[in-house]
Amino acid sequence: MEMLNAEKTCWNCPAAILKGNVDFRSCGQSKEEIKKKMEENPDFQVVIECARRPELGHFEPSITFEQCPEWQETKYGLMLKNMRVMILGIDGYLGWALALKLCKIGCKVSGVDNYKRRDMVMEKGSQTAIPIPRMTDRIHAAKEHGYHINFRRIDIRKEINKLREFLQEVKPEAIVHYAEVPSAPYSMVDANHALDVQDNNTLGTLAILFAMKDIVPESSMIKLGTMGEYGAPLTGRPLFEGMFPADAILQWDNREWSLGGELTPRNPGSFYHVGKVQDTYNVYEACRYWWLRSYDVMQGVIYGVHTDEISKDKRLRTRFDFDEWFGTVINRFVAQAVLGIPLTIYGRGEQIRGFIGLDDAMQCMVRLICSPPEPGQYDVVNQISAVYRIADLAEAVAEVGEEFDLKVRIKRVENPRVEPDRHPMEVVSTKLEGEFGLKAKVRLKDEIRRMFELLTKPEIKKRLEEKKHVVDPRTRWNGDKKEMDVIEEYMPGTKKFESKLLQQIDRVDGHGKELSGIEEKREKKKA
């Protein structure tokens, strides 16, 4: 098996502590200073000390991961032996699934959470469809399966000192930042909610950056952003991975400039997304000022209930929200289908988004942890495995729903959001496969089937029934709170759409291509 990170060296390794008057500002700002330093000491050179192998003393940072005994083969690439990974937001939908996956491949996992997600969902009168035990019981259950998690209840925004103390104690070699409120509608409810979301997300991230700078500057931060930061520009310009490629040119007034390496314009669609964009800039600047290292992950809309680890035991399952605030679209469609209420699509339903299955997203994160960036490196990856049109997804859910004897209807309601419901979309997403070796394997319909299997279980269906009233959207971007007017209701397979998907991405055996071409197929059938 080829290890894509085999040739990376100590420069990328979080265990390497740079020594020998390293001054990254040798470029530019402190030229005189470094010149003086080098004149005083002609043997000046950059050396490191290995935190894991201090007996080596000071040496040149040129050992490759392949040569270093601390890096060992896993199916995701070479990984530091017993790598210490801290997950901020470990109690959430993604945090918990990732914690178990990392434990399984031998990482020492620590985690932090303030149970905010549980509180917010409860505040909104909803609940997770799949019941999840209290954190203490979760950790006990995980331990029975051999997964040891070091957990602390900390609010990263308000209890900075506790966070610093925990960082000091654990000295994580990678930090996964999931500790953000993941909801656009929740941030649009009213001033209090918007303040709460941006306070927790943006200021929380800032607090972590400062703590990292002081305590673990060699550690890498894998920060969860969202594809929603880019929005859906009506010009149809490609959504590059965070920064323009080197051959992008700005032309104006008969002159031209290279845009290579500059952050691309962001086009956030809610106050939650605006906060995420601010995070992007905060992390970008922290890397520039303090030589922190970070991957900013622009994750597509996530869906699914399965990873090998969480499916092992029902006490290990991760949460599943289906309410209008915290449910993601496919998860909500499946819940609506199980409840026998029409699937709600907003406006024309021709919005196009990038998607990724839960298991694939977890795989991406592990691969990113395995291949840390270099000092000061800030990089962005677009984490999607396919692009779909919302209305096509409703059709796909309906199709799988039939296998479970569910008669699914689809309901178009007026769009509570301020967004174009017909737009071009071209996502550039090549790094994960090219540089990190992602092999996506979650098939959309298989995952939908798994979701149906789980949600139609009587004990879970009962929980859905209990909270049936929070499924349909009521939070409007203009601040009103009322049911959306229904534009039309139709049966799956009867609707024709005007727009065509211009781009067909699918990493899993072209399954999305099949789905994207849903109309063409139908037309062929008719013919």
Binding site: W11, S26, C27, K31, P245, A246, A248, P375, Q377
Partner: protein, 120 residues
């Protein structure tokens, strides 16, 4: 097999672009051909984006002009000697001397412009 071979070739080329202080004398100063050296930093997103361009140009020029890159933090002596003050810094060396320099983000066309008139 063939694919593996090509990939390893590709990798080799990639590795060859990067040089260190120890190789500088041999690869740049003593070179009979003109050499373009891109000085770069790991913290510079512009440099990261320019890497594939540089590889492309290296393949296109096919040895007429040697293309190299050097990390300024790992090789501070050379970076200081040539007063690299901004990255990416494209320096053209001819007969061991620095003859041309341009810094900041450059498109492929602009990099090729720097190299014009240098390959004779």
């Amino acid at each position: 097999m063939e694919k593996n071979f090509q990939e390893s070739k590709k990798k080799e080329k990639k590795r060859k672009l990067e040089i260190t202080e120890k190789e500088f004398q041999k690869e740049v100063i003593d070179s009979k051909k003109p050499v373009l050296v891109m000085f770069w930093g790991s913290w510079c997103p512009v440099c990261k984006r320019a890497e594939p361009l540089l590889e492309e140009i290296a393949i296109e020029l096919n040895g007429k002009i040697n293309i190299k890159k050097m990390n300024i933090d790992r090789n501070p002596h050379i970076a200081t000697r040539y007063e690299v003050m901004g990255t990416p810094n494209f320096c053209v060396f001819k007969n061991g001397e620095l003859v041309k320099r341009k810094f900041g983000s450059q498109s492929k066309k602009q990099i090729l412009e720097i190299l014009e008139n240098e390959n004779n």
